[in-house]
Symmetry: D2
Subunit: 155 residues, 4 copies
């Protein structure tokens, strides 16, 4: 990126693109990244390959955990970008490869049944080094499937 | 299963088979279930499709969570089988579809690099209704990649 | 209790009384139990003896964890009472001594400063055997000090 | 502290003293800090005021959480001191007031019965900014009462 490209908007687009196009496991899961106004969410259509419990045709708990971890980490990074002055954005971009999940809790509320799964997140603690997010997974009917809480390293 | 088939050994074989052959997401990840003596572990060879961070070629955090959740749940069920008298095994088998993860914590210790990933678990609390496991993920060199703690509903 | 005393209202009053009057540690912390309509909350006035970090005069993290655990467990029990038919209440009361926390996560959002601390909880998963609650701690100005998530055994 | 006093040994003694003498809540609980060779542990004798469940005379879950949080945080700080060169110790001491718990999970394994409770911790992830510990609580007979996992901010 040339220096002129380090606007918040461009860095956000770059991070979303990185998650969507360059993380093979997100593609394997069939994750779509939907950006609207000031928020981002993940959408994953049901696919038989994501089945955990074949007796009941429900999502594998690992898929739920994967979606919650992904939306939590992405939200933490995008929020950090929004709180960073443009002249400090190049340094933030340099740190991207070192950002990652420190720990995560998933609470499974009900069986993961549905045609489309939607993962959302909100920041509950934003520091310059560590952010904490709460995440949720719903299906297309609004059934609440899981909660998550994740702690992410930003620097 | 006829009544004669409800020995602990046969129920264990049946549960392992269920996890290995009938959970499509475990097959998508390439999970192998290795039973040795009294213990069970998961092994997953590195595959590019499991990549989370392409800049560093490391495992997606969701893969780590999936493996820890799977070995924790499987270990909780197998331990319940071992503690159940044969005459009560049919009732336990009937409850299998309702068993599942209540909550899980994952602690990411270091980047998920390696050629082979091994997931193990041990029971830390075994009740008739709820079990709690601690899980670990290592690579083929013995590097400790992640810890997990999971609470599982058995009835 | 005579049989006539097993109404939901009386059992709720009995459980709250048990937490308030018969748990010495809650009294040591100075916990007040405030019942209003359909909800219950804990209130604890600042007291120097609850100080964790003397350099900054903030609440000890253990006090925060204690309040979140207490309101989570109490809410889980009261909700179970509300969902139990009167004829089954005596059996529920018999199980009270065996109810307890299976696991809890606390997220510390900001320093525990204030004159009065208020702990609240809501059920996110209610089963007959296990309930999961989310808990919050605020101070008198509405500053959000901590989140909690707890899994409670009911039977 | 004069410059000469910033040896690892003296900083460790100072931190332990801070936890033991200047955190009123630790004194309220009756916590003793026992340093032996390279390790530290907490010891708390049973006291009726710590009772959570009076029907069974067991420790309040909040006491367990308090002890695990305290030993985890203390261990994280002491380990950071040991990994810091003497010339950087003054900067570390300056940051002490800002160190604290980010999040913690407690797993309650069995009722907290006993005459003496012993809390220990070990580091599972040590970074310059964040450390993760696993903690344990036992009684004087070696019964394992609880596990904890805590993430601590160091800078």
């Amino acid at each position: 990126m040339g220096k002129a490209e380090f606007t918040q908007e461009k860095v956000i687009a770059r991070v979303v693109n990185l998650f969507q196009e360059n993380m093979p496991f997100n593609q394997l899961l069939g994750v779509r990244f939907v950006v609207e106004d000031d928020s981002i969410r993940l959408e994953v259509p049901w696919d038989d390959k994501l089945t955990g419990n074949p007796l009941q045709k429900i999502l594998h708990g690992g898929v739920t955990a994967s979606l919650l971890d992904t939306i939590g980490g992405l939200t933490a990074i995008l929020n950090a970008v929004k709180q960073t002055q443009e002249r400090h954005l190049p340094a933030l971009v340099d740190r991207l490869p070192n950002m990652g999940t420190v720990d995560m809790r998933v609470d499974y509320l009900r069986p993961g049944r549905g045609k489309l799964f939607i993962a959302t997140a909100q920041i509950i603690r934003q520091g310059s080094r560590v952010a904490v997010c709460r995440m949720e997974l719903h299906n297309e009917r609004g059934d609440h499937i899981a909660f998550g809480t994740g702690t992410y390293m930003l620097a």
